[in-house]
């Protein structure tokens, strides 16, 4: 705190207490004297003087109080006055050098804007509290399964509900697709069937109407539905709809409530809910794992206690149902953690990357400020000479950088605004709440903090350096004086080291992702997506209760599609690839004892015979299905190479048998004969190794299988022509079979492949962009520093050349000075990259985080760029005319 100027005028500094005491004592003394002079005896005079004051202690206290407040007020006023002066002065200084100001502000604005934009995404997705009650108490409960977690079976759910007291409630949800036919058009809507307490457990209340009663959540209960805010707005125009009847899967449902907008937790979350109404038979069925279960802890109850209770339930179930629950363990995970998923890491990596860009920008600005400081050494020297303290000078210089920072912050917010819009327009689907990213008060506060923080960061060192100069030296040596000397060069060399190290770290990250992208592009998906159109068809249970009817409908659909002009092959399958709707079963090769650990979890496709030809999945051994694989005949299956290798390592799988998918008499196994081996398919993700898979002919699937897949099949169609031209004919085929059944999720297989890469591509694109920006900033920074160092050595270079040094010797000398910190920075950067790239591990494919090729290519690139950035000023130095150089300033 500066001392108020008023206090300078006092010969010595007086505390407020003493000031008051002394002033009052003086007053009493003078009054007494006055009365004495008028002839009053001294004792009476003194008493009268005191009486006039009244309660002396109170008076003192109140004056001290007023005095303290007065001093505070004056100090603040003075401080603000000085700050105002500093800001005005800073603005005037900055306006004097518009080029410097523009470059500095733009450089910083780029860093601040980018960082703010990514931060706003991190805030929207990760940091912002979920719009539900006490999200910290909400957990996702699942079952541990082969090293991961899986959904829960109804039996395991029911027993968990009955056997625990730690939860306020456990709610189950089954994602479910509905055909919503309203106003003449059928539409596919993703919804869920939920237990009655679902909304209470998640912690949200309906906007209007109500949610389900326990009665409605029982078999035969009233058909009721709760709508999402989004569906209500889009499909019903936000009008009055509660109490109305709508057709879902061909059945009339009454709308009883609408959830608030905040319950649309993500852009692709479910759009309606109906009661799940478990039957008594379902409640004791411990197989078939398809429930998402949520649990809300009671206040004051720990998750550890809940886990213990669940383990007690699991122990009992393992004993009572060894076949279904032999290895049952419940698993819990905080809801928020599951909700954000691995996007948290991806976003934080981006935030780290953009922060590195900001730091590089800061180094550039620090260098610009250093150079500017050097040019102003004389001004500072004069101010010091006329009595400004060091702190005063530092404050003035820092005010200048903070003013710069705030200007940059303002520009940065504009950059952030446009960046956010661009990111939203280009970002892949499915990132929860990303669409809610915006420049809001929190983001603005962040930008302001960044602006002030970064400007102090890059302004502090130059300000301290400049203010430390002795005034005589600055005055005496003029322009050059205050800038030569090893210390300052070390500071600049440090900036080069930092810029190289930071941009190398960044570029290694980008390089690893680029290599991942190239590797993913080269992955053979196991099928040929070109020329294939895919779409899904779902048959409602009410109109298609019997498997015979379902199979007949899909058979007709396949046949009609095959006859469309231009179609070479067409098939239906419960799953195509790289889309939603995959399911899996536990398979037991014949001869192995029943043990849940021996089950091979394999992905199932229920297919019509032409599926392999349509998708061009090779049959590597044996045969494909044909018309003879019919209901009641020999039960057959085709296995993928991965499954064959797991089930029968080193043996010919053809002719072997595997039990799966259904139970025979007395709960015995039902064996299926392997008639063929198909090539592996990357069904879920190109980046993951193909999982074991098996195929069943549609006529031989168990009756329950139609419930597993919710009577939903993919139609895949191959053509030699344009597959997109088949969309309308295919829709027409489905419409002719049943006008109430929509064709949905219509996509070219090529599109599915691209979509599965979208998130990784987007991340790669952003990180590469940041890497390039960082590299350009670093290059311009190194150029600036070297150019400055050269300009400082002009005279010395002149002397050397006058003494016979050749231009190439001069170039080499300058390069040596510049490249030493570059080399140090590169080494530091490699070390940093080796440490930092580990966070990328989960996003990499076919390349290790420590990939030597990537690291050496990046390091070489950086060194070349730094070299070029240094050669330009070095050659300029060598071109100097010795006589001119010697006579300069």
């Amino acid at each position: 705190m500066p001392v108020p100027s008023r206090f300078y005028r006092w010969p010595w500094k007086v505390r407020v207490e003493d000031e008051v005491d002394e002033e009052l004592a003086f007053h009493i003394e003078m009054r007494t004297r006055e009365l004495c002079d008028r002839g009053v005896p001294e004792a009476d005079a003194r008493r009268e003087a005191h009486r006039r004051i009244g309660d002396l202690d109170r008076m003192r206290a109140s004056l001290r109080d007023m005095g303290a407040r007065r001093d505070e007020h004056i100090m603040r006023a003075q401080y603000l006055g000085e700050l105002g002066q500093d800001v005005t002065f800073a603005l005037r200084q900055l306006l004097k050098t518009p080029m410097f100001t523009a470059i500095t502000v733009l450089t910083l604005a780029l860093g601040i804007g980018g960082t703010t934009a990514i931060f706003s995404a991190v805030y929207a997705v990760v940091l912002r509290p979920l719009p539900i009650e006490r999200p910290d108490r909400l957990y996702v409960v699942g079952e541990m399964f082969q090293g991961g977690t899986s959904n829960m079976s109804v039996g395991n759910f029911t027993d968990a509900v009955e056997g625990t007291t730690a939860f306020e409630g456990l709610a189950a949800q089954q994602f479910f697709s509905f055909n919503l036919s309203e106003g003449g058009t059928a539409e596919r809507v993703v919804g869920a069937r939920v237990t009655a307490n679902f909304f209470d457990v998640i912690g949200s209340r309906p906007l209007t109407g109500r949610t389900f009663t326990a009665d409605e959540d029982t078999p035969g209960g009233a058909r009721v539905v709760v709508l999402s805010h989004r569906l209500w707005r889009q499909r019903f125009g936000g009008g009055s709809v509660v109490g109305r009847d709508i057709r879902l899967n061909g059945e009339i449902h009454r709308v009883i409530g609408i959830m608030p907008q905040s319950f649309d937790l993500r852009s692709n979350s479910e759009d309606l809910w109906t009661p799940i109404a478990f039957t008594p038979k379902q409640k004791v069925w411990h197989d078939d794992h398809y429930l998402d279960v949520y649990g809300r802890l009671k206040p004051g109850v720990t998750i550890e206690r809940a886990t213990e209770e669940l383990e007690a339930v699991a122990t009992r179930l393992r004993r009572d149902f060894p076949k279904d629950c032999g290895n049952l363990r419940y698993a819990t995970q905080p809801f928020a953690e599951q909700f954000v998923g691995d996007y948290k890491t991806r976003l934080l990596v981006l935030l780290a990357a953009v922060t590195i860009v900001l730091l590089i920008a800061c180094s550039n600005v620090a260098n610009l400020l250093l150079a500017r400081g050097a040019a102003r050494a004389r001004e500072v020297a004069i101010r010091t000479a006329i009595g400004a303290g060091r702190w005063r000078i530092v404050r003035q210089l820092l005010t200048e950088s903070v003013v710069l920072g705030l200007l940059a912050g303002t520009a940065g917010v504009a950059i952030a605004y446009w960046t956010v819009r661009a990111v939203l327009a280009w970002s892949p689907a499915g990132v929860p709440r990303l669409e809610q990213t915006r420049v809001d008060p929190v983001t603005l506060a962040f930008a302001a903090a960044l602006a002030i923080g970064s400007s102090i960061l890059c302004g502090l060192a130059p300000a301290l350096r400049l203010s430390r100069d002795e005034p005589q030296r600055g005055l005496h040596e003029g322009r050059r004086g205050a800038t030569s000397g090893g210390v300052r060069d070390r500071l600049r060399a440090g900036l080069i080291v930092a810029e190289v190290a930071l941009s190398l770290t960044l570029l290694v990250g980008a390089g690893l992702l680029i290599r991942t992208g190239i590797a993913l592009q080269a992955v053979n998906p196991g099928f040929d997506p070109a020329g294939v159109l895919s779409a899904r068809v779902a048959l409602p249970e009410s109109a298609y209760p019997e498997p015979e009817r379902i199979m007949e409908t899909f058979r007709r659909l396949t046949e009609d599609t095959q006859h469309l002009p231009g179609v070479t092959h067409a098939a239906v399958s419960s799953y195509a690839a790289l889309g939603p709707g995959i399911g899996s079963n536990g398979l037991l090769p014949e001869g192995q004892p029943f043990d849940l650990n021996n089950l091979i979890n394999s992905q199932l496709r229920m297919i019509s015979p032409d599926f392999f030809q349509t998708m061009r999945i090779p049959i590597v051994k044996g045969r494909a299905f044909d018309e003879n694989d019919r209901t009641g005949g020999q039960k057959v299956m085709i296995v993928s190479e991965a499954l064959a290798a797991r089930a029968f390592p080193g043996q010919d799988p053809i002719g072997k048998r595997i039990s799966c998918c259904e139970r025979g008499p007395n709960d015995g196994p039902v064996l299926k004969l392997i008639v063929g081996v198909a090539g592996d398919v990357h069904s879920r993700d190109l980046a993951r190794a193909p999982a074991p898979e098996f195929y069943l002919p549609i006529p031989q699937v168990p009756r329950e299988a139609w419930t597993w897949i919710q009577r939903t099949m993919y139609v895949v169609v191959r053509t030699d022509g344009d597959p997109a031209a088949l969309v309308q004919p295919l829709k027409a085929v489905v419409g002719r079979i049943d006008p109430d059944v929509p064709l949905f999720d219509v996509r070219l297989m090529d599109q599915r492949v691209q979509l599965s890469l979208a998130t990784s591509r987007f991340n790669t694109f952003l990180l590469t962009l940041l890497g390039v920006v960082g590299l350009l900033l670093a290059a311009s920074g190194i150029y600036g520093i070297v150019a400055y160092l050269v300009s400082q050595r002009t005279q010395e270079i002149g002397v050397r050349m006058a003494l016979g040094a050749t231009p190439s010797q001069v170039v080499r000398m300058v390069l040596k000075q510049a490249m030493k910190p570059v080399a140090v920075g590169a080494l530091l950067g490699i070390a940093a990259a080796l440490l930092a790239s580990r966070v990328l591990a989960a996003q990499l494919f076919a390349v290790k985080p420590t990939d030597p090729l990537t690291i050496s290519v990046v390091a070489a690139t950086l060194i070349v760029v730094a070299f070029v950035a240094s050669v330009v000023p070095a050659r300029r130095a060598a071109a100097v005319d010795p006589t001119r150089a010697l006579s300069a300033d």
């Binding site: 008023r6 005028r9 006092w10 010969p11 010595w12 007086v14 000031e19 002394e22 002033e23 009052l24 003086f26 007053h27 003394e29 003078m30 009054r31 006055e34 006039r52 004051i53 009244g54 008076m59 109140s62 004056l63 007023m66 005095g67 407040r69 007065r70 007020h73 004056i74």
Partner: protein, 111 residues
Amino acid sequence: MADTPSELLHGTLETLILKTLTGGRRHGYGIARAIEDATDGVVDVEEGSLYPALYRMERRELVEAEWGTSELGRRAKFYRITPRGRRQLAAQTAEWTRFSGAISKVLLASS
């Protein structure tokens, strides 16, 4: 108006203090005496009002204080009018003149 003429309106005391300081710096007692003398004792400046007023005026930068030596050789705190104080005094004086003139017109009017 109050029973005793010595009771002053809040703003009036400040104006009187500023007026006494136009002749040069004074300590608190000096200010009180100057007012009492100038009004022939009609106005009695109470200490309980004087010092709070002075501290308040310091804060508002109407006066500023400094330590000096009194006429009797003792160290004392002296007050000095600031430019802002002078402006305030001028404004208050004009206002007072206008106001008292108006009151006089009413009271002295021949009915």
